[in-house]
Symmetry: D2
């Protein structure tokens, strides 16, 4: 029996997920799609035996839909997830879980009210083979207790409408979440630094360097460069008491040509994290089919948004800002 | 509609394939299994809604089985594939296609008699991301015309019963096939060299260095080391007119510890080629569901076995041996 | 005609320099040595045709000594260099130039009073082939304007008597100087962060992360780990507008063994910078023989000490501290 | 007391050696130069206090010359070295020691007649830090007994007048010698293979792959590509019983730019082996000053030429050719 999934949002990431649910992943079928853009929906639905729903709410209410995948614009996420929770239907929600920490907290409360986990949030890095191997290395004790983490999150370019706020609210959440994944600790403070800005972008402070501190004092410096031209490059190096462990930096092919020895750098996030997206959704399908929810949670989504908000305040006033978190509800422990 | 697959052979590679058909791949279900070892079959079948068939022949004859996957011992392959061809049923056959070139040729003739391709042979390296990127680099012209290829095929260890013959017949076929994939040329000659032998194995000449020549004169040196302890390591470097391109040699994590900077080397072929096996079978499922067969063919299986036989003669008499191939039938062009 | 050099200090770095002056470098001879430890001096002088001077002052006054190399303990540097300046004798002074910025400034004033440069300070990193290639890459414009620099300075271990103050005053000066070399800018502010401390050292805050800012706003994060066990590892990665450039991280040999692919990490600074020390002194010998002084200057020594002092204040009070520099005297432009 | 050296040959390598003797190395002065090209000699001698000798013979006969460095064209080497031997004067001879094995053997006999070693041959690779580290790794037993060596010797381009003979006689000698250095064994056979030839060179078979066999059966495949455009690249990978060890392949700087992560490849042999040349001559100076000769010997030069001759026969007739060596005289053991 395949899991019958309804997908809300047929844009970039939504259509990509529909493709992988259809062609790549196991134990699943897409049976419903909802998106306000009819033409786009029709294109995505071609060749699929799906119901086109008139709205996210209608899709969620469809009894044949076992589980919902939310890939609509971020500002709609919290309401759609809450609607799923209201009827106890499992839901995978692309990040961010919500636009504000308050809104995210309301999702957490709604899920806690159901008495169990039903929501997985799309922090796909946790499913990336490199990050998993890095965590295994740390957990194996090879370098002792982590003390410092150097991270970088680099995009080759951003659209015209990009703002520094988006760097903090949209990009940083991935780094904040993966630090929690790697260390098993919460983030307790953030400070945003403004290096010399690239002349390639007007009106955007790029890069940023953001300093995060964890519960035990691990210091994380995250360089966020959203317009660095050369590629999409995600780096993390953990400094332990007796050694360091970093994401590998190799490539599929080593080329020697024209005076240089080189490997390719990925050009975008889809290429870099294609397999992580596959694993993330397969994990969700398998767990959901088994009546469980095990991936990144609403709590994780709430915390990432809270860290982003604290970072945004730090960006505005230049001070170190402490991250204030409620107690973690029992269902997330 | 899922493709209904019957699997013959529930041993190492067979049970691994059943696992990926069940849990990882899309558009497929395993509906029948045949293996003479009843206990093993029962274990593999647990939790699956499958028919246990009394023999490979019975499984092939089962009308509900859309397509057959052959993962039984090598000496059974040719007969099982021929039985599938006799009734026009698509079949994926693990390598080798046959034990001898003559036997492989009979499979080719049987397939040609059906008027179309129905057989895919399990040369999974063609689906490995590194080899694909290497081929794309060559095809892109970055290093000009290939002239020499340095290859290595290293296993950490082999079982007690290993023989030098197996190195040639079981291991070399992968290298022979991938050279054809990379260059688009046939192999026309082989010469087997006997370097100083490792003291780690009695009665086995290890390593071997085998020199293959392609139609246009590209020279390939393949080092085969079956008992080199340190890991499972597959290397290929293509020397072109203006540069070189090689399989990447990085790892998921870079560790600095105890005076060294290191990355892991895979320990076995399952780890190294896990994703290639996934892609290989997904490709077969997708093509078969679409009424086609597109992967490595019976002809490829026949050629690899022919090259191995020529190499074996060279190993015995120390001379360069020419590889004699029949004309390639039209369905394989 | 060889340059006749007198060496003050025959300890670790002093005896090492005497060895390279004698056996490795060109156009130089050691003709006098002064060190209060007679036994040590005798050992170092064995086989050399040198005068053993009773004190640094006596050595400096020796008319046969063309130029002086100061390798005695740091607290003696400023006075010895000033004594050389008083009689217009060229001097190479190991870092630090002085213990305090005030003291270093007095050396600068003394040199300015001579009307020309006579002092070279031992910032050997400027002569390291990797740093030079990195600077050439930046100057060549390959990555555009530098915006951020990630640096790390790691020692495997420190003696019992090490203190956090020494990390700032003794280690950081190298990083501060090389940042100035790479960027051609001054450092205008420092902030010292205290990550979770390693349990391997009592009473020392290790690691430190120090944030330096340059004139144009380039942000430099320097991780200083003085007791990280795995090796002596010096890292620098410059983030530009369109790319990044980093010190290479390879090794002389790539070893595959026991499941890992590895290269060696240096075990100490002597090994890492052996060739840089050679080049530094050869450059000094050549320039001095030509009647010039061209390497790192008293001003560079003064600035490095000033940055260290500002960093020390930041370490104590936790605040960002601005670096206040006097105007750079004309002879250093 | 500096060693007073006379240099015969002021062309490419000769003028380069004069530069390093003058500016870089210790304990040496150039006091005489002989070269038939007067203008070139004058240019090289400028600023040096040297005697311009009318011929190599005159230079050798000059009593003030302690030791001779021969850097004239290869066909003059044997006679010049023999002239030095006749009067017991130490001599450093650039490779090749002689044009033919017979001629080289006459040099060996002349040296043996003196009863001691007086000749060092310019196999500079033995002084390269990477090769030395590789040998130390092998000697340390990290990978067990060597069984196979993969080597490559690549030049970006050759002059118009290049011939395949030169690839064998001029280039291969370096690889032959370094194999002997790494393994401590003699080479007993050679076979030259002709891969598909590059279209970049008319009338030259490029690349060649040459198979060498050592006393104990170690098989060495040497790829010689003299016109591969991308750079000057020297590779060696030793396959042992339990692992592999290879020359490192890193660079001084790692650049990320325009979709690629890259390091530079050297453009020519001068750049690649600059430090090895320095060490080679410093070693010769130090040993000669101490009354000894310790580097690569006439025997090594003779053997390399003998291997090249055997390889040339194999190139002509396509067969494996055994290398026949006389007994090694006692002074070379």
């Amino acid at each position: 029996m395949s899991l019958r999934v309804g997908v809300i949002g047929a844009g970039g990431i939504g259509s990509d997920h529909i493709r992988r649910l259809r062609w790549t992943l196991s134990g699943v079928e897409v049976i419903a799609i909802a998106d306000p853009d009819g033409a786009r929906t029709a294109a995505v639905a071609e060749g699929l035996d799906v119901t086109i729903e008139s709205s996210g709410a209608a899709l969620i209410a469809n009894d044949r839909v076992d589980a919902v995948l939310v890939a609509s614009p971020g500002f709609t996420h919290a309401d759609l997830v809450t609607a799923c929770l209201a009827i106890g239907k499992p839901v995978f929600c692309e990040k961010p879980l919500a636009i504000t920490a308050d809104e995210a907290w309301r999702v957490v409360e709604a899920e806690v009210a159901t008495g169990r986990r039903l929501v997985q949030v799309g922090f796909m890095r946790r499913y990336d083979a490199s990050y998993r191997a890095l965590k295994a290395t740390l957990d194996g004790g090879d370098i002792g207790q982590p003390l410092v983490i150097h991270a970088a999150h680099r995009n080759p370019e951003v659209p015209d409408w990009w703002t520094t706020d988006l760097t903090i609210k949209d990009s940083l959440v991935h780094d904040a979440d993966i630090v929690r994944f790697l260390t098993g600790e919460e983030i307790v403070a953030s400070r945003v630094l403004r290096p010399r800005a690239s002349s390639r972008l007007a009106d955007v402070q790029d890069p940023l360097v953001i300093l995060l501190e964890t519960t035990s004092g691990i210091l994380v410096d995250v360089e966020l460069s959203v317009n660095i031209a050369y590629g999409y490059d995600i780096r993390a190096e953990v400094i332990g008491e007796t050694g360091t462990a970093a994401l590998g930096d190799g490539g599929l092919v080593t080329l020697k040509r024209a005076g240089a020895r080189s490997t390719d750098v990925p050009t975008d996030w889809r290429q870099r994290f294609a397999l992580a997206y596959d694993r993330e959704l397969q994990d969700w399908i398998d767990a959901t089919s088994a009546g469980e929810t095990t991936g990144p949670s609403s709590w994780d989504g709430f915390v990432a948004t809270t860290v982003a908000e604290a970072s945004h305040r730090s960006y505005q006033d230049g001070q170190r800002v402490e991250v204030q978190l409620a107690d973690r509800p029992a269902i997330y422990r």
